[in-house]
């Protein structure tokens, strides 16, 4: 396996881009990453497009060839990679594997989603393609509803107050104020979160990641490429892993165990040669506040049922014990579904390069990104390391 480095990163702002199509968003991010890498786009040998719902919402598949064509890169090996909300992370994993294998020396990944083309009830239905159509979606469950089932179990099992979990959203909004790419750049109070409308009890509107459009892209290369094209490189993908769990959360023996995440995180960290204590900056998949808390506990930063304490104590801030979602996370930076897995790494790359501005984590060296598909049915975890 060859070492793989991030040599370019680019993204669009996340928001309601009425005037930009799916392909335009993808191309904007991809070409920005290519420019950032300082290479000619024709040097990219393989392109991985992470996306979940283009078929449902745009009636469009075959995104590999589409994006390659519209980026002026037709001819490149190109693929759409889908793993529900982990499509971005899964696409990144494929890109990483391609470069690590040495079959390709320079590859690119773009995660993209365009959600505002459809009506809200139809977006809800499209998101549900992540779940079992015949036995879960059939029952009228929504994606928020499935997470709510886990949320309620968490609150009951540990006797935690919902406010303490909801505070995770307050933290994310505070972080996003300084992120020019974020969808929401204003702070919210805990009162606002707890009085926002119920979507699927007990989950409230401001505990949910928003609907939005956006694309983020990375250019990766391996050591062979660097030998031919020496350059200043700061960020390496030190390890990555993908794992699945039993798809339906209600079928897992313990719906709160996050077994898929534990497996992927364990493997990624082992490959990177690190432990959780080495992580300087963390990106968790907070599609709903409770997922952020469960992840912190699963990583061992707090005992089960006590993850909320980290938020309350400010440990997730740039100066805290485990800076988390320092660019706003899914809640405030945004969650254009297929794009998220790449946005998370984009945010970590900025931290490791020292380009995080007001939210900079001093001396950040190791970053870990967790991207969940469905209710953690697929998990992609990547570890990034600053090499100089």
């Amino acid at each position: 396996m060859k070492r793989v480095f991030v040599i370019g990163a680019g993204a669009t702002k996340i928001g309601e881009h009425w005037d930009k199509s799916l392909r335009e968003l993808a191309v904007e991010a991809l070409l920005a990453a290519v420019r950032d890498a300082g290479i000619d786009k024709r040097e990219v040998q393989a392109l991985y497009v992470g996306n979940m719902m283009s078929g449902e919402l745009q009636g469009q598949e075959h995104l590999g060839a589409l994006v390659a064509t519209w980026a002026g890169m037709a001819g490149v090996a190109a693929f759409k990679v889908e793993a529900a909300c982990a499509s971005g992370g899964a696409a990144l994993h494929q890109a990483y594997l391609a470069a690590a294998s040495g079959l390709y020396d320079c590859v690119a990944v773009v995660g993209v989603e365009k959600m505002t083309d459809a009506l809200p009830n139809d977006v809800t239905s499209a998101l549900l393609t992540a779940e079992d159509q015949d036995y879960v979606v059939f029952a009228g469950a929504t994606f928020v509803g499935l997470n709510a089932l886990a949320y309620r179990m968490y609150l009951s099992r540990y006797g935690v107050k919902q406010e303490d979990v909801a505070r995770f959203a307050v933290h994310c909004h505070k972080m996003a104020v300084n992120n020019p790419y974020a969808q929401f750049r204003r702070e919210v109070t805990l009162e606002e979160v707890m009085s926002s409308p119920l979507i699927a009890d007990p989950i409230r509107l401001l505990e949910c990641a928003p609907v939005g459009d956006g694309a983020a892209a990375l250019v990766l290369c391996n050591e062979d490429f660097l030998k031919r094209n020496p350059r200043d490189v700061l960020v390496e993908i030190a390890g990555g892993a993908v794992a699945t769990d039993i798809l339906s959360v209600h079928e897992r023996k313990d719906p709160l165990a996050m077994a898929g995440f534990r497996k992927a995180a364990g493997e990624a960290m082992k490959r990177a040669g690190i432990e959780t204590k080495d992580v300087d900056v963390l990106e968790v998949h907070d599609a709903f506040t409770v997922l952020g808390i469960l992840t912190l506990e699963a990583l061992g930063y707090a005992p089960p049922g006590k993850g909320w304490q980290l938020v309350a104590d400010g440990e997730l801030e740039p100066g805290g014990r485990i800076p988390t979602n320092t660019m706003g996370g899914l809640k405030a930076r945004g969650h254009p579904v297929g794009g998220t897995g790449v946005y998370q790494v984009f945010d970590i790359v900025r931290q490791l390069r020292g380009e995080a501005g007001a939210n900079q984590v001093e001396g950040a060296e190791i970053g870990l990104a967790q991207n969940l598909g469905g209710v953690a049915g697929t998990v992609a975890v990547h570890v990034m390391r600053r090499v100089r």
Binding site: E56, L119, P120, N121, D122, T124, S125, L128, Q133, D134, Y135, V136, V137, F138, A139, G140, A141, T142, V144, G145, L146, A148, L149, A150, R152, M153, S156, P197, L198, I199, A200, D201, P202, I203, I246, S248, H250, E251, K253, P255
Partner: protein
Amino acid sequence: MVWAESIPRAWRERVKKYRLLGGKCPSCGSVVYPYRQVCPYCGSEVLQPVELPRRGRVISYTVVRHPPSDFVGKEPYVVAIVELEGGARVLAQLTDVKPEEVREGMEVEAVFRRYREQSPNGVIEYGIKFRPV
């Protein structure tokens, strides 16, 4: 949404839905719903079909207030994880109960109800919901 109006698909699954047909794993003893040939827990490929008990209790529940397209007009409704006698877990709606009356641990029984229509004049899909005992 094309899949939502597939008659063959709904027809294929009807017996599992109507009769709560699950599978018992002879290797690890787990009971799953719906029936499938391979055990999701231990990988055994010889699951036995079994009509599951029609009583259980609520493990967790939520109240859906913003439904997907084919449930518009039915909200708010309760979706719950029901653990049946014998251990199989089913994801289903609760019915004949007000959302505020639902409790974790509530005893419930299976009933046969309409879930959805494939389209306004299309095929009606029936299945199992649960109501308080």
